[in-house]
Symmetry: C2
Subunit: 204 residues, 2 copies
């Protein structure tokens, strides 16, 4: 699967490049300020002072515009392909393997730069929050049983472990965790992720 | 305990301010390049082109110089006071409570700025790695039984969960985890941290 992890395309059009970048920059600001749901393509066009048709000319829709605004160096849909169809009770290992494959594939440098840039900036952190909740957790938590609020909490807990794992292993590079094999990481971390996904949360 | 969480003092001396800042800047660079153990006060003085006595005049020793280089907005010794004396088999809750108290006390804004600045910069990330391993994990993992390599791995795993928790709750602010009470967070997260500290790691 790691062969399919291509960075999202960024179009290069000599003519429309300026308008495209203007739209992207405007979208980035609006998504950061108002979130995904609070931002419409119409608004983006208005704030960028371009015709709405031009937004549709450059971007397939709000999802693509959002993904490009965040400048995520990988496509969550590809990375997490198959995860949402697995039994939630046995999904932790697949989530961890998908993340490890991604970070140990060609996107690694882009991801480190993405994390550094995103966490280093307040506006980008807001984008990241939107992206994690909408694009990643919606897939990771699909079909997990329980009341919606509880499932969202479980998703945040899974995120807390996975974000920490990526940071400590690939960005801060604490050893020996940074040099453990993928299988070792899965054995050590999967039971914890699985507890957040479907385990008993309230009774230690 | 949160009343005792004072930011580390930064001296302001009109006369020696320049020399002090010069020494700090040099130390920051050397610690990032060569780590704590690979950096001596003598080297710092040489590279800063000041007399070694001046380094000792401004800083109590290498530990203080390092702590000030990292610009950590809280003192790990105070934050984790008492944790290392607890039975490792029942230490997770105390670790989590110490971290939550810290981040929900007066140091919060400084900590967010610290995390943003540190993760945003390659050199600062190297400093962070040194600091986490030396100053924090040494305390958190004190007395945890097992071979040294395994205990270090357990420490990195604890760090992965705690770093992720801080980022998701306080920096990225994913809800509902960002608005859960401290008691809720402890109930949800402590069993996972405790497994990393002293639980079975290899058999899920």
């Amino acid at each position: 699967m790691s062969g399919s992890l291509q960075p999202l395309r960024r179009g290069r059009r000599s003519g429309g490049e300026d308008s495209r970048e203007l739209i992207l920059g405007t979208a980035r600001r609006l998504f950061a300020e108002h979130g995904f749901d609070g931002t419409s393509l119409r608004q983006v066009a208005r704030e960028a002072q371009v015709d709405p048709a031009m937004v549709h000319h450059f971007f397939k829709g709000k999802d693509e515009l959002f993904a490009l605004s965040v400048e995520l160096p990988a496509d969550p849909e590809q990375v997490l392909a198959g995860v949402e169809t697995l039994d939630p009770g046995e999904r932790a290992e697949a989530i961890i393997r998908a993340v490890l494959r991604l970070w140990e594939g060609p996107a690694q440098h882009g991801l480190v730069a993405f994390v550094r840039g995103t966490i280093g900036s307040t506006a980008k952190t807001a984008l990241l929050r939107e992206m994690v909740a909408r694009t990643i957790l919606s897939r990771v938590m699909a079909g997990v049983p329980g009341p919606a609020g509880e499932v969202r909490m479980r998703g945040d807990l899974v995120a807390s472990q996975m974000v920490g794992l990526m940071l400590v292993r690939y960005v801060v590079r604490l050893d020996p965790l940074a040099s453990a094999t993928q299988d070792e990481v899965v054995r050590m971390v999967a039971p914890n992720v699985q507890r957040y996904l479907t385990g008993e949360l309230d009774n230690p």
